[in-house]
Amino acid sequence: MGRRSEYTVFNGDDEERCWQVETLSDGVYRVWTPDGRSLTVDAYSPGEKILNLLCEGRSVDVGYAELEAGLQVHVGGESHRVQVLNERERRMLAAGAASAAGKGPELTSPMAGKVVKIVAEQGAAVTAGDPLVVVEAMKMENDLKAHRDGVVATIGVAEGQAVEIGDVLVTIEDDPA
């Protein structure tokens, strides 16, 4: 019935894996796994973002959510982050893949909250793991630590300031010495 579609998958590590799917009939698929096995899967959706798969005699019930960074898949008591690119998305990624590798200088806030203390001093040498900024979120203080070695180049926030997820707190440049 369908053609074979190819999907590139990332599941929490750097390895990318290729899956292929062909629709056999409504809700029934032939799937080729990254290691070359071929499976027949009967997929049924009992509700929004819920899938029940019958595959090789096994019944697998799955809840998932589409988040910005890919899919969150809840299966068998485990929650996995899986990024799936279809062929078009894969080509777009390849085209834009010229972006720089490695860790940039910016330490961003992983949470929304309030800066209660700045430990970092401009110009000070730091090593990865040193606490730099204390952000209070939900009444708990969180030590935000240097993500790399280097020298504190700029401090982008002040004590008492509210921060959002992704706000640059501190930048750490390579130590010129």
């Binding site: 899956w19 973002k49 996995h80 009444k139």
Partner: protein, 506 residues
Amino acid sequence: MFEKILIANRGEIAVRVMRSLKEMGIETVAVYSEADRQALHVRMADEAVCVGPAASAESYLRIDKILEAARQTGAEAIHPGYGFLSENPDFARACLKADITLIGPSPEAMEAMGEKTRAREVMGGAGVPLVPGTPEAVSDPAVAKEAAQKMGFPVLVKAAAGGGGKGMRRVDHADHFLDAFEGAKREAKSAFGNDAVYIEKFLVHPKHVEIQVLADSDGHTIHLFERDCSVQRRHQKIIEETPCAILSESVRQQMGEVAVQAARAVDYEGAGTVEFLLDADENFYFLEMNTRLQVEHPITEMITGIDLVKWQVRIAAGQPLTIEQDDVRRSGASVECRIYAEDPEQGFRPSPGPIFQIRPPAGPGVRDDAGVYSGAEVPVEYDPMISKLVTWGEDREQAVARMKRALDEYVITGVTTNLEFHREILEHPEFISGDYDTQLVSRWMETRQRPPRSQGEWAELSAVLAVHRRDEALRGGSAPTGAGDKAKSGSRWKQLGRFRQLQRYH
């Protein structure tokens, strides 16, 4: 009996309290902040009143607004839940003045137990054993440090008005004392508006074991046995169980008696909890008394069959506690796991946000006290607890096996949760033995390797099929849904577009 009660709280505890009230035929009034318009407790209540903006200090902590909401709706009593105003004597007094019954102890009992330094004084006087510590709050860092050195490290710096692990720091070495002292004061100030802290000797390998008490206005006081709350992260409990697996029967009885004695010493009324530290030799020391319902109260309800909220309400209405100590029977074992929107792999960092779907477990011996629903948000402003998952079993082994089953059954997507982490703890050899202390999690996190996960391939397969089906649905026609599926997914606008293309619709 009251006809209408206002619940001055939010989230799962507000929902839990309402459930008992509904069973008693009492009307319920919710209060909510602007951030909580969509919260479950608002949906469950008979009436709901907005009490201000998202920040707790401007809504859930505003005594005037809460009382105004009670007056406006004609509520005769207020249940404070836990946290927020539940242990605030000013609130208790304001209720008295407004002629509204606060479901809880007297302001005097709250004061005696709320300030930890005073509580120690009162308890010491009543013959309750105490852990070494500063007799009162210390503000001078130098004096505090000297006191700490005198009792010997490690010590705890604790907020005098504290609770829930906020404003509490462990210090292992004199060099780190001043930083921790200041940090605890800052946290105490922001969480409780009071930066008084005191210093206490930190016991090595202690268990946190607490006793539930119930007392009526005539002073009839009973205990409902213990809860072992030693599984903690960042000084906050995450798993509680009853009975405590290693407690001998004679010490259990002693602790119960001492807890009753402690409650009587402050003329306690209602439900309360006396917390103890239990050391390896089964010596126990008074830690604090919580003059309110506890998060982990359901496990006591599970093994005793007693609805604590119902008794709180009855006692507040002036009814006598008709249960005698000898009538209280324990049956089986119970475990509670606190399900949080947090990431154990990132130092238990809160991960608030919208819950995409939540499918709680069910079946024999399972109780899920949740405060959210699919599509609801875990707001950034409040505690990120999603639910209290509780199981009961004929014995500890069955209760724990049920908990593992229930954790596996629980589906929560949209936010990161500690569901898997709970399962790991339940499989930790120290937890299995029952002989674990309050440092179990922090010690273990130093060397913990995340266990290999078995569902990775299913997760990938599911994700691939989800995307494949989405793409097919976008390309044309309705979503493939599988046999027997009635609900077609996809946007109505897209359907309209397709209809128009087919010229069925002009």
